[in-house]
């Protein structure tokens, strides 16, 4: 893979530099996103790739912790046990929400019609197309 990893806002070009810029949030992203193993194999991190493939544990693969005994379900990448980081709410609670059980509770409606999904939606005026008269 001919690219760098962005870790802690710094470009990292070689596996040996990962430890000095250790950024578990971004590393988990690259791992779950499917590129980290390939990148490591192409950039001097064969050993780390092997450990990561074996355990799925980011901290262990880069020598930040001892080898884990077992990986608890849903705890694939050695990330913080607390899970999601607390981030201050930017908006009032939305009318529609996913409950913890995964059931969607209706209430909030998306702006624009269902068809706007096809092109990426979000605008309040999303029920319209634009530039159609050109055809």
């Amino acid at each position: 893979m001919k690219c760098c990893l962005w870790l802690n806002g710094v470009k990292v070009w070689n596996a040996r530099d990962i430890k000095n810029n250790f950024d578990p949030t971004s590393l988990r992203g690259y791992f779950m996103g499917g590129s980290l193993l390939r990148w490591l194999e192409a950039n001097g991190g064969e050993e780390e790739a092997k450990k990561l493939e074996e355990t799925g544990n980011i901290e262990y693969a880069f020598g930040m912790t001892e080898k884990p005994k077992a990986t608890p379900p849903g705890y694939a990448c050695g990330a913080s046990e607390q899970g999601n980081t607390e981030i201050p709410a930017l908006f009032p609670p939305d009318a529609g929400t996913c409950s913890a059980g995964g059931k969607f509770l209706a209430g909030g409606t998306a702006a624009g019609s269902g068809s706007s999904l096809a092109g990426g939606s979000g605008s309040a005026s999303g029920s319209l197309g634009y530039g159609l008269y050109i055809i």
């Binding site: 690219c3 760098c4 990893l5 962005w6 806002g9 470009k11 949030t25 971004s26 988990r28 992203g29 690259y30 791992f31 779950m32 996103g33 499917g34 590129s35 980290l36 849903g74 705890y75 694939a76 990448c77 050695g78 990330a79 046990e81 899970g83 999601n84 980081t85 981030i87 709410a89 930017l90 908006f91 939305d94 009318a95 529609g96 996913c98 409950s99 059931k103 969607f104 909030g108 409606t109 998306a110 702006a111 019609s113 068809s115 706007s116 999904l117 096809a118 092109g119 990426g120 979000g122 605008s123 309040a124 005026s125 319209l128 197309g129 634009y130 530039g131 159609l132 050109i134 055809i135």
Partner: protein, 264 residues
């Protein structure tokens, strides 16, 4: 400039969609260069007779690497981008570019979106698996970017964005919200990543002037639903597309008969 169209899952056989796809591909080739169709096997089979792309690459896995296809109906676009070298333009099949574009070092998206909380809720809304972490250094007020058109000039940035988006999709709990999770992964994370890495961003259109007269871009967008609801509107649109194909792309008139014999 090389562009990609992406198709996953069994495509709907809607004529207006197929005409739009054909015009999007042929018009890109006319003004801007190569376009590749990246798809899964089902889509490759469906579009087998459509010779409107320079090449077809059926490289998207049918199982979308385990991503929920209902919640993340555009996941294939992110998987396709991961496997395509930058610089690259990803073009929705209902987006048509009617002129030659000058693209440089900035990421270019179709337009910004307002942070409407009904569509782009606070991140506390999302139910994620243990281990997923919303990046605490992102500026969550960055306005999302509509990716009906997306130019990614830089491989380093592209890999960061698509990996963070794929991670989000793989880490979300299954639920029946098929809008907010998808647009967070595709549109909002793009803006968040660009802002975080200080990557310059431009847009083709100003979000507050989308519906002013212009002759450079067509985006069907919500018109699709209108055509589903109104057969006369669809007939009129299809007629105009056929005329456009015959006038501008006479070597591709055979596509019309292919589309017309496809049964919905």
């Amino acid at each position: 400039m090389r562009a990609i169209h992406v198709s996953t899952l069994a495509p709907r056989a809607e004529k207006f969609d197929l005409y739009s796809t054909v015009l999007s591909a042929l018009t890109w080739r006319k003004y801007n260069g190569e376009i590749v169709h990246i798809c899964d096997k089902q889509s490759a089979q469906f579009y087998e007779e459509f010779d409107v792309w320079d090449s077809v690459k059926p490289i998207i896995p049918d199982d979308l690497e385990g991503i929920n296809p209902t919640m993340f109906w555009a996941a294939g676009k992110l998987l396709a981008l991961r496997e395509t070298d930058s610089p690259v333009v990803m073009l929705d099949k209902d987006f048509i570019v009617w002129k030659k574009l000058e693209l440089g070092d900035s990421v270019v998206a179709a337009h910004r979106e307002d942070l409407n909380p009904g569509v782009y809720p606070d991140v506390s809304y999302f139910q994620m698996q243990t281990g997923y972490r919303f990046n605490p250094y992102f500026n969550y007020t960055a306005l999302p970017l509509n990716t009906a058109f997306l130019y990614l000039p830089d491989e380093d940035f592209k890999q960061f964005y698509v990996n963070m988006a794929i991670e989000f999709m793989k880490s979300a709990h299954d639920c029946s919200d098929y809008l907010r999770y998808m647009v967070y992964a595709e549109q909002r994370l793009l803006a968040l990543c660009a802002d975080f890495l200080k990557h310059p961003v431009e847009t083709l259109l100003d979000k507050d002037r989308l519906f002013e007269p212009q002759a450079d871009y067509t985006h069907l967008w919500g018109e699709k639903q209108k055509m589903r609801d109104n057969p006369d509107a669809e007939r009129e649109f299809n007629t105009r597309c056929r005329a456009r194909i015959m006038r501008d792309f006479p070597g591709y008139e055979h596509i019309i008969s292919i589309i017309e014999r496809i049964k919905p």
